[in-house]
């Protein structure tokens, strides 16, 4: 740990005042966005940490605080530690760890599981900004089931995972718009300069071309390595009627709510596929 001796029994540890979290569902382009931003001279990114949610997620700190601050004689009450201070203290150590590596630059952390504890992270890192990348759920779920065994075996689970992450991030963005920007994955890949400019403005950093070039030159970390880069996939055409029904049931409302599918289109698809799904499951039952 890098510290500065203070001449007493205390030491000083550096922490970054304004770290950045890239959040979003898995298979949504969080990696390419974090890597691209990490090429900006004011920012630093390594790889996914997989630390915070295992240490403190998703509600562990609130549970601890609720249990240990409820009585006057408890240490947290007696020392007048508010929830905000408690959560911030829990974040300081990890902040110091990242800051030690980032060499004075604002560090970026992106682990998709962080998305489910975005509100807690905002309190643990009160100076942090959040960049949420949102991708069409159909493409995300298709990528999931082609990538990871448990999603392949349980299509509904993949749909729910996408929905939960997106809902958590979008609700946070609505609640704290000054702290969270949402960008569409499709926009990032098609218009990287424009989308990254928006992100730079939000993060209050100057324009640099290197991250833009990175997005142009690198495709999303693909689940379809056997296909040439840029090959369009239409999951809807590849899925069975049951999968379509499951997707519409689990993720359809969120698709419409967040502007990824028009409400009329959702209705039309539900009319077409959800009865088929119901018939199938009833027969199976």
């Amino acid at each position: 740990m890098r510290t500065e001796a203070t001449g007493t029994c205390t030491q000083r540890v550096e922490i970054c005042a304004h770290p950045i979290f890239v959040v979003g569902s898995q298979r949504s382009g969080t990696s390419i966005l974090a890597r691209a931003l990490g090429r900006h001279s004011a920012l630093w990114y390594s790889v996914e940490g997989f630390i915070l949610h295992r240490l403190f997620g998703p509600n562990r700190l609130d549970e601890l605080y609720a249990l240990h601050a409820q009585k006057d004689w408890r240490w947290l009450s007696k020392e007048r530690v508010k929830r905000e201070e408690f959560l911030e203290a829990a974040g300081l150590g990890i902040n110091a760890l990242y800051t030690r590596r980032s060499g004075g630059r604002r560090w970026i952390e992106k682990t998709p599981q962080n998305t489910l504890m975005i509100g807690v992270l905002a309190d643990m890192f009160p100076g942090a900004s959040f960049v949420h990348i949102l991708r069409d759920g159909r493409l995300v779920v298709n990528s999931m089931i082609n990538r990871v065994q448990h999603w392949r075996e349980d299509f509904a689970w993949a749909c729910r995972d996408w929905r939960r992450s997106v809902e958590a991030a979008m609700e946070f963005a609505a609640r704290q718009p000054e702290r969270c920007i949402t960008v569409r994955h499709e926009d990032l890949t098609e218009h990287p300069q424009s989308v990254l400019s928006d992100i730079y403005r939000f993060l209050e950093i100057s324009y640099e071309e290197t991250p833009v070039e990175h997005v142009r030159a690198n495709r999303i970390n693909s689940s379809f390595s056997n296909r040439p880069a840029g090959t369009p996939t239409d999951p809807w055409q590849e899925w069975t009627a049951e999968q379509r029904g499951t997707f519409l049931r689990e993720a359809g409302p969120a698709m419409a709510r967040y502007g990824l599918m028009h409400a009329d289109e959702l209705q039309r698809l539900q009319d077409t596929y959800m009865p088929a799904y119901v018939v199938t499951t009833t027969q199976e039952a």
């Binding site: 203070t6 205390t10 970054c16 390594s46 249990l67 240490w75 004075g104 209050e204």
Partner: protein, 297 residues
């Protein structure tokens, strides 16, 4: 586009390099010791147990967490030791901001069970283990509710706050044994980090006891802790003996216990009592004989 960059400067937090954990079984004098040490000008104690520390770190498997995130750690060349120290530094800061430059003391008996974790998370911390004769500690646990009014007792029981060691004799024996074993094992492994002091010796003769303690903690001797101990007895489970400053208290547990309680105590705590020098082999044989004799019709 050019914008003024948001202040990217880092700021600093203060951490205590050498905090102190007072560990030991329940009803062993951890409170009076922590409060006494807190009278020393180099230390700060809040006079309240920070139970959340144990709750926060006891469920953490830092080794597993480190191994599962090994890619990040390897890439950043972060050792497990360094990672653990960072994990603890936020909680350290929470205490340090209150101790105002002094070395903070935390004492929660359950910390005894995770001393090895705390040693990793607070790499500069020193541990003081207070060891009390198991008979008196168990007896005190067994009478814990005596010192609490009935209304509070009822409330605690209803809310599930009542400690199991205050209700069940065997649980009290096991609690003493488990805490003492954990602390003694930790001291055996890390003698440079942990000092065990006997409660009975410290209370009978505070000054030499605190001289040893402060030397171990690297601080000059001051009279205040010993004076505090002389004028403040252990937080009692026996309200009617509140002015009794004797190390063992007025009641002799052995005489008060039923034959079954004696047998349970010897069964659960006898080996630890012998191993840690709290009873001689001769005395143990006498107690065993005593327990079996009393059982005869």
């Amino acid at each position: 586009m050019t914008t003024l960059p948001r202040p990217t400067k880092c700021h600093h937090i203060q951490l205590c390099s050498e905090p102190v954990f007072v560990i030991g079984s329940f009803r062993s004098g951890t409170s009076v010791l922590a409060n006494a040490l807190g009278q020393h000008s180099a230390f700060w104690y809040s006079s309240s147990e920070a139970n959340f520390v144990c709750a926060m770190f006891s469920r953490l498997d830092l080794g597993d967490l480190y191994n599962r995130a090994d890619y990040w750690f390897q890439r950043q060349e972060i050792t497990r030791e360094a990672f653990s120290a960072y994990v603890g530094s936020g909680i350290n800061a929470l205490f340090t901001v209150r101790s105002e430059g002094k070395r903070w003391i935390e004492k929660t008996p359950r910390n005894s069970l995770i001393a090895h974790v705390l040693a990793e998370v607070f790499p500069g911390a020193a541990f003081v283990h207070i060891l009390r004769d198991g008979r008196y500690a168990v007896h005190s646990m067994n009478h814990f509710f005596n010192a609490i009014d009935e209304q509070t007792q009822t409330k605690w029981r209803a809310m599930g706050y009542a400690p199991a060691w205050g209700i069940d004799f065997r649980t009290a024996c096991r609690t003493w044994r488990d805490h003492v074993r954990a602390a003694m094992e930790f001291q055996r492994e890390r003698p440079e980090r942990c000092l065990t002091v006997r409660y009975e010796e410290l209370v009978s003769n505070p000054e030499p006891g605190f001289r040893v303690l402060t030397r171990f903690l690297g601080e000059p001797y001051e009279h205040a802790p010993a004076n505090f101990l002389r004028s403040n007895r252990i937080q009692s489970s026996f309200p009617d003996t509140s002015e009794d400053p004797s190390p063992r208290g007025r009641s002799d547990p052995w005489e008060e216990w039923t034959p079954e309680q004696r047998r349970i105590f010897l069964e659960e705590d006898g080996p630890a009592m012998l191993e840690y020098g709290l009873i001689s082999r001769d005395e143990m044989e006498r107690l065993e004989h005593d327990a079996s004799d009393r059982d005869l019709p």
